[in-house]
């Protein structure tokens, strides 16, 4: 047995060998290799995004314009779902059985273990009923999201709307994940970064079935969501609502600006739409309906429409003429009315006219002579044109006049090259481009630019960038809003022009419809020729004459004459803004304006 008892060492050696192998393996696994710790963390940690509430938007007087309402998403985790009463479920959610089935199969395809959204944006009312019954449906749970809610139907275009991010948004900015919301137009888009806040992260511990077991390290590492910054807009809600009321059943636009600051008081593109239509589950359907509407309610005319300014452009040409010494204060031009050449004058008035009278009477002959003088003041017509061009440009025409609107257009201001290309260099002169003298032809301006032009007239020679944001909570607004932009026209030349604009309101037919009691409004009408229907009705104005508080531009498509709709509507808005009410003797005008339907492109003369 002695020999055999030595075999115990073989057995002991085998034991020891296995033990040593285990110790070495465990040392490698537990001490040397740290990757398993990472795997372990990945196993148990689920990061849950905390969505911040979007910032609120107020009007200039602190009235709430945009706020949030809570909606609920219903999520499904397919593997946890057990048999349930589908009829009850569908009734509770007001969906069809087919919707439910396709939703479930879509979710299952995505993941059996991870929750995915089955039904989006359930209203709080429906949610209240659902919540009571939810215990009957295993594998379903809800999460709250905030949706935009609007205090009124006003300023849809200016405020813009919010929607789900697109693939390209996600690519551009890593902040966004599929299913997040982003501002798509208007203030929501321009101030997206301020309004959205910062998403937070909650670290949850989950078990193998992805069931939440509690927070990780008692929430020490959680990052709370930071709610979006509240924004105060320059919009005056009352004025905005009033403007939209005036513009019902009309196409066109109005922009009102506070001249001394550049703050936009009202900005309307008509027809407009209820911003509430583009919120929640109904957004997709409503959006396509609005898109298909022939009146193009989604088209933001105040920023995107390129209108010829017509006669409202005349004060600018007169100012350039005076500044360039092409005309003098005492200069008079005769007008042959319909017989005037090369541009006939449609207005029946005294002749000859001086600067003030020409503006009051909107004399085409005077303006043609002025314009020709400006262009002929230099060696060549082209040089003269460039002088004219630079003045016009300094008024913001053909320029991006504001950085505060995400999608404003520059509009059209033809250049020397433009005409050279058409007529050949040296083969064109004042006569060729004569339409510019009366604000027609190749000019295309946006209502925002024209309102800014109204501001410059009101300020007698300078403007601040038109903007729609007054204040951002805990942040600064753009410094560019504070820069005073001066046009190269001496202040003294504004005097006769403004006198002419005052007389336009008080000494022509406008006195019956557009004169505001006790407030001296200065304005200029325009009737823009239109080949496709009735002419457009245009009016630019500011008030009061001294220390103006509001500059306004109104454009009513197919409004026939500037004096028919644009001027009275502007006067009503100015009166409303400055006095908070409409004087009783003008109520009938207000009613007439509100009731007028100008949607038909052909209007009676």
């Amino acid at each position: 047995m002695n020999v055999l008892s030595k075999r115990k060492f073989v057995v002991l050696a085998i034991f020891a060998f296995v033990g040593v192998i285990f110790i070495i393996s465990l040392f490698r696994l537990q001490v040397l290799d740290s990757t398993y710790k990472q795997y372990a963390t990945n196993n148990v940690l689920r990061l849950v995004t905390q969505y911040p509430a979007r910032g609120l938007v107020f009007d200039r007087n602190g009235k709430l314009l945009v706020y949030n309402k809570t909606a609920y998403d219903l999520l499904i985790t397919p593997r946890e779902v057990s048999k349930f009463d589908t009829t009850l479920f569908c009734n509770l959610l007001n969906i069809s059985k087919e919707d439910l089935e396709t939703g479930i199969s879509k979710a299952t395809k995505y993941s059996r273990y991870k929750p995915s959204i089955l039904i989006k944006q359930i209203s709080p009312e429906r949610f209240a009923v659902l919540k009571e019954q939810l215990y009957k449906f295993q594998g379903f749970h809800t999460q709250s999201r905030t949706l935009r809610e609007y205090s009124s139907t006003a300023a849809a275009h200016a405020l813009g709307y919010v929607g789900e991010v697109s693939g390209s948004d996600i690519q551009k900015d890593g902040y966004y994940k599929s299913g997040d919301y982003i501002g798509i137009s208007g203030i929501e888009k321009t101030y997206e970064k301020q309004l959205r806040g910062v998403k937070g992260v909650k670290k949850n511990l989950v078990d193998v079935y992805n069931r939440v077991q509690g927070s990780y390290r008692n929430g020490e590492e959680d990052i709370p969501a930071r709610i979006g910054k509240n924004i105060t807009s320059t919009i005056d809600l009352d004025l905005q609502l009033y403007a939209e009321q005036l513009f019902q059943n009309k196409r066109g636009s109005v922009v009102a600006i506070e001249p001394l600051t550049g703050e936009v008081l009202a900005i309307v593109s008509a027809p407009t739409y209820d911003p509430g239509l583009l919120v929640g589950r109904v957004r997709g359907k409503n959006y396509s309906e609005l898109l298909a509407d022939t009146l193009k309610p989604l088209f933001n005319r105040s920023l995107l429409a390129k209108y010829p300014p017509g006669s409202t452009f005349k004060p600018l040409n007169v100012l350039i003429g005076l500044q360039e010494q092409a005309i003098q204060l005492y200069t008079k031009f005769t007008c042959s009315g319909q017989g005037s050449r090369p541009i006939r004058c449609t207005h029946d008035h005294i002749t000859p006219t001086n600067v003030v009278q020409a503006i009051r009477e909107s004399c085409n002959a005077f303006l043609w002579n002025t314009f020709r003088s400006i262009l002929n003041n230099s060696k060549t017509s082209a040089e003269g044109f460039n002088v004219w061009y630079n003045y016009v440009k300094s008024f913001g025409i053909g320029q991006n006049v504001s950085s505060d609107f995400s999608n404003g257009l520059k509009g059209d201001l033809p250049t020397e090259e433009y005409y050279n290309n058409i007529y050949g260099k040296g083969h064109w002169n004042a006569l060729t481009v004569r339409s510019l003298s009366i604000g027609q032809g190749e000019l295309g301006v946006t209502p925002l630019q024209m309102a800014n032009y109204g501001s410059i007239l009101a300020n007698r020679g300078f403007y601040f960038e038109p903007h729609i944001i007054k204040k951002i909570e805990g942040d600064f607004i753009s410094q560019s809003f504070k820069i005073k932009n001066e046009v190269q026209i001496n202040q003294e030349y504004f005097k006769p022009v403004i006198e002419g604009m005052s007389q336009t309101v008080h000494q022509t037919n406008l006195v019956y419809t557009s004169k505001i009691p006790d407030i001296e409004m200065c304005g200029k009408t325009g009737t823009v020729e239109n080949n496709q229907g009735s002419d457009h009705s245009v009016f630019v104005a500011f008030a009061p004459r001294e220390n103006p508080e509001i500059a306004i531009f109104v454009y009513v498509e197919n409004g026939v004459w500037g004096s028919r709709y644009a001027a009275p509507m502007a006067s009503l808005m100015v009166e409303k803004y400055l006095t908070d009410s409409i004087s009783s003797n003008r109520k009938y005008i207000e009613k007439r304006m509100i009731d007028a339907n100008v949607l038909n492109p052909i209007q009676p003369k």
Partner: protein, 473 residues
């Protein structure tokens, strides 16, 4: 010098201390594995730690009773116990409850009872009884046949229960037989078979044969003094292979290069075997025979693996050998188990602070994978302590077995040691990815009444035998 005839004075308290330590640590980890905030009372018998506490208590009573029973009881009743348990193994096949695919459980009033667990100590007793008979010679055919019958009868029925893990345990008896005189060659071939088995599954077809052929040629070369003789051997293989290659061409059949090589080398080996037998070159005969056997064995393994093993065993063995990596399929258990253990680091996450075991990422965490809880919550410090404790226990058992005067006690002692060793090796090896996932419990640690009681009985019978080592019987 210990007093004769005084059982209590002669008990080996070191073993008992180790036993108590392991059981206590096991319970702590079961508590941690199923711990949650809702059920915190340790006596809550609706929870596993509560139940385990009852079973531990019962195990202590069982241990005490075993120590009271006279040693001759185990000698005389060994065959009867064995017979009864074999009958139970057969019965469970018909009335047993299927758990995890294995029909190995009796359920009586909510409690489960697994006869295969108790079969181990009965087999050890019978083996000890049979081999300790005076005049026993292990290499007699009759002895080997009887031993084979004793060991493989339970193996057969346990395999029929579809409980491969428990059946494999019985192969550990080979170490006992080795200690009792079984030729070392058996151990050698046992190891060779294991290595070939794994190699056959890991390496694709041709590689293993090339390696085998290379090794055989190398041994021939080492054994040879004359180069000419080696050249002849080399030629024998080369000609055989070319022969089959030509045959392949002539018959225009596509057997493939691997098959040509195999057939060629087999023919070459047969030729060398015959020539060396004729010339009485014993070494050459053995080498060619071993080579022949190895090739035939690997062929059999390939065939057997594809056709005889069940798919979940195939998958688990595949996963272990790194043939198929599928972390969410068959490899999921091992992967999660390694994550749990690996995430423990040097010092662990702290008691009750494991996330992987607590949140059910590790399957079977209180039974087969209890070692994960140790690894995650106690770190490398904890796992090495457990391993060292087991090693001390195993070595102490061998040392105690060797000091027995009677063959019966010694053989039984060795049986206890190797059975515990096999469980230790396979269970821990499985949790750290060194062994296939075959569900056998970690002795004293894993949750479960049957396994705890059977290990307690197994161990305490030996403690009782050891305490009476001075008695004559």
């Amino acid at each position: 010098m210990a007093k004769r005839n005084n059982t209590w004075a002669n008990i080996d308290w070191v073993i008992i201390l180790l036993f108590l330590l392991l059981v206590f640590m096991g319970w702590l980890n079961i508590y941690a594995a199923v711990y949650n905030d809702e059920f915190q009372s340790i006596l809550d018998t609706s929870q596993r730690y509560g139940k385990q506490l009852i079973w531990i208590g019962a195990a202590f009573i069982l241990a005490f009773i075993i120590l009271l029973i006279d040693t001759s009881f185990y000698v005389f009743f060994s065959y009867i116990l064995y017979g009864v348990l074999v009958l139970l193994l057969i019965t469970v096949l018909f009335v047993g409850k299927e758990i995890n695919g294995a029909r190995s459980w009796f359920t009586i009033g909510g409690f489960g009872f697994q006869p295969s667990e108790f079969m181990k100590f009965a087999t050890a007793l019978v083996l000890a009884r049979y081999m300790s008979v005076f005049g026993f010679k292990i290499h007699k055919l009759k002895s080997l046949a009887t031993i084979a019958a004793i060991i493989f009868t339970p193996v057969l029925f346990i395999l029929l229960q579809n409980d491969t893990g428990s059946a494999l345990v019985y192969f550990s008896f080979v170490l006992v037989l080795y200690r009792e005189g079984l030729s070392g060659i058996v151990l050698f071939f046992g190891t060779l078979i294991a290595v070939l088995f794994i190699m056959a599954l890991i390496t694709p077809g041709i590689t293993l044969y090339l390696v085998l052929l290379g090794v055989a040629l190398l041994i021939f070369l080492i054994l040879n003094t004359k180069l000419i003789q080696f050249a002849r051997i080399f030629a024998a293989y080369l000609i055989s292979i070319i022969l089959f290659f030509l045959l392949n061409l002539v018959t225009e059949t596509e057997y493939g290069l691997a098959n040509v090589l195999i057939a060629g080398s087999l023919l070459g080996s047969v030729v060398i075997l015959l020539v060396s037998l004729q010339k009485r070159l014993k070494n050459y005969a053995v080498i060619s025979l071993v080579f022949l056997g190895s090739v035939l064995f690997t062929l059999t393994v390939d065939y057997g693996f594809e056709n005889l093993l069940e798919s979940h065993h195939q998958a688990r063995i595949n996963e272990l050998l790194g043939i198929e990596s599928d972390p969410l399929g068959a490899g999921y258990n091992v992967n999660q188990s390694k994550i749990a253990i690996g995430s423990g680091g040097s010092w662990g996450k702290g008691y009750l602070k494991g996330t992987q075991t607590k949140f059910n990422f590790v399957p079977e965490q209180s039974t087969d994978f209890i070692f994960c809880t140790v690894g995650e919550e106690w770190g490398f410090a904890g796992t090495s302590v457990v391993i060292v404790l087991f090693l001390i226990l195993l070595m102490r058992l061998i040392w105690l077995a060797e000091r027995q005067r009677s063959g019966f006690s010694r053989i039984y002692g060795y049986s206890v040691a190797v059975i515990l060793f096999f469980h230790f090796m396979v269970n821990i090896g499985m949790t750290i990815g060194l062994m296939p996932v075959i569900g056998i419990p970690l002795p004293f640690f894993s949750y479960g009444g049957s396994s705890l009681w059977s290990f307690t009985i197994l161990l305490f019978i030996f403690i009782r035998l050891d305490a009476s080592r001075f008695d004559q019987f």
